[in-house]
Each structure stands twice: as C-alpha cells, then as structure tokens.
Symmetry: C2
Subunit: 109 residues, 2 copies
C-alpha cells in the first residue's frame, strides 16, 4: 500500500473514475475550458492564462495527455494542444449515462 486498489471494480467504473480524476484539479479543468473555447492553443498561451509556473502547467498538460483527453502537435519550437475529440466524446457519453441513469426526484432517506 497504498496506491488505489483497482481489483474488484467494473471496467466501466474504473474508466469513469480515471476521467474524473484527470479533471479533478482546477488547472486541468481550466485548460480544458480554454481548449473548448479556442479550439487549439499553444502551450505558452496556456501558461500565460494560468496562475502557475511553466513547469507546473507542463505537468498538468502531460496528465491530460496521459488520460487521452488532449493531443499535442509540435509546431516548430512550439507545441499546439487541442482536445482529443474521440476520447472526449467517449468521456461525455460515460458521464451522460452516469448522470442520466437517474434515481429521479425523491430523496428517500
């Protein structure tokens, strides 16, 4: 111990948790909001938009890339980031199903 235990959980559960975890930090949410708004964005502009150092932003970008939510394309000395549409829609579907499978309305306890 003590890393997160994964045995005994459904694949669907693990995948959803992984997406949520990747988005469970203000910097990473802000990066996604920026990429949604601007479609694509060079790393330096992302750094400028966040209240964190270049090194820290680079780490968060790596985390989002590792989770498959964004892509980075090298453009000369710069790197242009954008949303990975395929995985982003996949995540959207998972999240949608999670919230829409609804208990609906009553608070039974």
């Amino acid at each position: 111990m003590t890393a997160t235990k994964t045995e005994g959980f459904a694949t669907e559960t693990l995948e959803l948790a992984a997406v949520m975890k990747a988005l469970g930090h203000p910097a990473r949410v802000a990066i996604m909001q920026l990429l949604i708004e601007r479609q694509a964005c060079v790393c330096g502009s992302i750094v400028d938009a966040l209240p964190l150092s270049q090194a820290t932003v680079s780490q968060h970008l790596a985390a989002l890339k590792e989770a498959g939510l964004i892509q980075g394309n090298i453009d000369g000395p710069k790197v242009c980031y954008c949303i990975d549409q395929t995985n982003w829609q996949k995540a959207r579907d998972m999240v949608k199903q999670f919230w829409d499978t609804n208990t609906c309305c009553s608070s039974p306890c």
Copy 2:
C-alpha cells in the same frame, strides 16, 4: 506548498474540479452507482459491495458527504445513505454545460 493552488481560478472552474475530484476514485464512483441503482443504501451493504475494508469505505463515504454529493441519515444503529438530489442536479448541470459547450467535430491540431 504544496497544496492545490486555488487563487486565480474562476469559481465555476473550482466547483467543477471539486466535483470531479470527489468522483475521481473507483470506490466513490461505485458508491454513487450503487445509490443511483438502489435509491438508498445502508452503510453495511455498501461495505459488502466494495472490495475494501469498512474503515476505508467509511472514509470514502465521508469524502462524498463532504463534497455534498450524498446524505447520511441515522436509522437506529445503522446509517442510510442516499444521493443529495439538489447538489447532484447542480453537478449534473455544471458537467453538462462543460461538455456541451462544444468545439464540435474538427480536430484542429
């Protein structure tokens, strides 16, 4: 340092990240899935359904409660948990807006 920096982020960003973080663990996703399916559930049943110890499950329940996503009602010696409908719908709306404000379709990088 080094706790998460919160200054310089929009309230909306912080709130969304907080929800995502609360759901960023397989056990907590599994608990929510269980509560969605069964409407309400006694703590002991949740413990039985997860591959974790009673102490650990209790911690995860406390985290979800702290995030406002669930409520616990004392029922004799037992505690009955259910989803906090108000905050759950609020979270749903935030998430919906996040994913639906869409870049749509093209991968520009």
